[in-house]
């Protein structure tokens, strides 16, 4: 019995056989059982609510009314794309997402490079813990810490004023700057972890070979390390971009409701005005923007991979 079972396992799990000409004789019910709980959870608690929200976005907006009706309209979408208040928010969100990705990349790459290239295991552990430790505290608590630092009466301004460098406090939060700083703080570890994973895959001998072939340190980086880091740069940027444009908490706390990005509009429409249908439409636009970024990422990744095949 046990022997028969392991034989059928091997038959199905061997990719050469399942892809080859011979058809797989028996399906694998056991594997299905393994993915079933997660699939069910995903379906009930993610697909279903998102789909119903998406459906509602095609209903006429009636404050306080929650639920899907079969009378469909594009009114909500027309409103988003014709009112600059909402239309601008799309570009504001995308712009902040791109900016945060770039800042994370510039800050994260050197650190990721050092961690990936460090040979002493203890040092790698310490550096990795340092990177991840920022994720140990809840985001809201970390943001309050940031506010203590950046506020008009915060540490930075106190020091600047005391040193006489400025005569009036700099406005470091409740604006786009504060939102970007907050988002970078939240997303930087994800960028760094993505980069470390990829840079570690690049054997140091590649850069050494470039050096002894006559490349300066900078040239070896530009011609070898950078192009080979591209997969990590892309996936890290996508992750950071998606997290940034969908973040509500950071713009709410660090932007003080003054930086009107898409998630703030969604919250205002639904939680404050009870306009579920319109809020759903903004959420749908946000989702499509993310999707677009994934497609751009996919094209870029395929383009880079294409150069190698």
């Amino acid at each position: 019995m046990a022997a028969a079972m392991s034989k059928s396992d091997a038959l199905v799990l061997d990719p050469a056989r399942s892809i080859g000409r011979r058809p797989v004789r028996r399906p694998m019910p056991k594997l299905w059982l393994l993915v079933l709980p997660a699939s069910l959870f995903f379906l009930i608690f993610f697909i279903l609510p998102v789909a119903s929200l998406l459906g509602m976005s095609f209903n006429k907006t009636i404050p306080g009314v929650l639920g899907f009706s079969s009378a469909l309209t594009l009114d909500n979408y027309v409103r988003i794309f014709t009112r600059s208040l909402y239309f601008d928010a799309i570009f504001r969100s995308v712009g902040i997402g791109v900016l945060v990705s770039l800042v994370c990349l510039l800050l994260g790459y050197p650190l990721a490079y050092v961690i990936a290239r460090t040979k002493v295991p203890a040092r790698v552990t310490v550096l990795t813990i340092l990177v991840l430790s920022s994720m140990q505290l809840d985001m809201v608590i970390r943001l309050y810490g940031l506010m203590v630092l950046l506020g008009d009466n915060g540490l930075i301004n106190q020091m600047l004023l005391a040193s006489g460098l400025v005569s009036a406090p700099l406005h470091l939060m409740y604006n786009t700057f504060g939102v970007v700083v907050g988002l970078v703080q939240v997303t930087l570890p994800f960028m760094i972890m993505s980069l470390i994973g990829v840079i570690r895959q690049i054997p140091p001998s590649f850069e050494e070979a470039a050096r002894s072939l006559g490349a300066s340190r900078a040239a070896a980086f530009r011609h070898v390390a950078l192009p080979l880091s591209m997969p990590g740069i892309l996936s890290g940027s996508l992750l950071v971009f998606a997290m940034s444009i969908s973040s509500y908490v950071v713009p709410a706390l660090m932007g003080g409701w003054k930086v009107l990005v898409l998630p703030i509009h969604v919250y205002q429409q639904i939680a404050e005005a009870g306009r579920w249908q319109f809020g759903a439409a903004i959420a749908a636009v946000l989702f499509l923007t993310s999707l677009l970024a994934v497609i751009v990422y996919d094209r870029a990744a395929a383009y880079i991979a294409g150069g190698r095949s």
Partner: protein, 356 residues
């Protein structure tokens, strides 16, 4: 054609020493192997010559140039790595052109030299392939072509054959050696494989625990190992406990199993002292009846026999000391049987006395 000189070259990592005061001159056009077990400091030495590791002390000279303080890109050195390090995002032509581009060579000249070097390494038509479309041997050739196209002063190779399967390794051994000789380029070859070192090298430097312990031609290293370590590392040897007494310069009087004979020794000894006599199995002569003149012979007994095709290996007991002998498996020599009483011995001129 450039001579390499290492002057008390040393590398310390914290409290441990990876390379300890190496003094060495490698001649113009010479194929020099650094041979030693893993961790003995071969790669560190090579990487100091290449400029990837900064020496803690000592100097590196290429010809008359002191390159100790130069960065790798200014040294004009070709290095081939164990993993070949073919850039995976560039095709073969772009890989080979890389060094020329860094030297700002013109496009037409680059194309011409890439074509020439590909012909030289037998890879015509491979221009547009990527590293993952190449076999290990082909990657090896591309790595060499990429280096040679820049006409470096010296060539460094770090275990370049260890990633290949056995047949390919045999082929590449001779291919690399021939290429090196035809170019006449001074070459340092790092390996832990004694066969590679013995087959390919003009001279070998044996390293043990961060020190260079013996430098010599393959024959010198094999026939006259300087230390117990070299004896054990290169080929197999019987190490026979004997007592040695002073004799002439370079020789000592060896006493073993009731016999007294003269054998070579390095260093001087001033009184009778226990020592070990190193005798290669192929130099142990065993026969049922008589041994040739000049051979010290002992009555012995065959303990076991191992048939290995071209050779037959015997374990022989000489008054309680068991040694290994190898005999060519030739038709005119009858095989010996286990338990046979035989004569066994060796030519003292082919033995080395090792003092502790």
């Amino acid at each position: 054609m450039t001579e390499i000189r290492l002057d008390t070259l040393t590398k310390r990592y914290g409290t441990s020493t990876a390379v300890d005061g190496i003094d060495l001159t490698i001649g113009e056009g010479e194929f020099f192997s650094l041979l030693g077990p893993s961790g003995c400091g071969k790669s560190t030495t090579l990487r100091m010559i290449a400029g990837f590791v900064t020496p803690s002390a000592g100097r590196i000279l290429l010809g008359d140039d002191d390159v100790t303080a130069l960065p790798p890109e200014a040294r004009d050195i070709g290095i081939v790595f164990q993993n070949y390090a073919i850039f995976p995002h560039m095709n073969v032509a772009a890989n080979i052109a890389f060094g020329l581009k860094m030297r700002k060579v013109g496009k037409a000249e680059i194309d011409k030299r890439v074509r020439e070097v590909l012909a030289q390494v037998g890879l015509e038509g491979y221009e547009n392939r990527y590293s993952r479309e190449l076999s290990g041997g082909e990657q090896q050739r591309v790595a060499l072509a990429r280096v040679l196209v820049t006409r470096p002063r010296i060539l460094l190779l770090d275990e370049p054959l260890s990633a290949l399967d056995k047949n390919m390794r045999e082929e590449m051994k001779f291919w690399i050696k021939d290429l090196q000789k035809s170019l006449g380029i001074t070459t340092v070859y790092v390996t832990h494989d004694q066969d590679e070192a013995l087959t390919m090298s003009d001279r070998i430097g044996v390293m043990e625990r961060s020190r260079l312990v013996q430098v010599g031609t393959p024959e010198e290293i094999y026939e006259r190992p300087a230390t117990l370590f070299v004896t054990g590392f290169i080929g197999h040897s019987n190490l026979i406990d004997v007592t040695a007494r002073p004799e002439t310069e370079g020789h000592c009087r060896v006493h073993f199993a009731g016999a007294d004979f003269s054998a070579r020794v390095r260093g001087a000894l001033d009184k009778e002292t226990p020592a070990q006599l190193a005798v290669r199995p192929e130099n142990v002569i065993v026969d049922a009846e008589t041994l040739p003149d000049g051979v010290v012979a002992f009555p012995a007994k065959v303990v076991s026999e191992t048939y290995q095709g071209p050779i037959v290996r015997y374990r022989i007991d000489i008054q309680g000391t068991t040694i290994t002998a190898e005999r060519q498996n030739q038709a005119h020599r009858p095989r010996l049987a286990v338990g046979d009483a035989v004569l066994a011995g060796w030519d003292p001129a082919r033995c080395e006395t090792l003092l502790r």
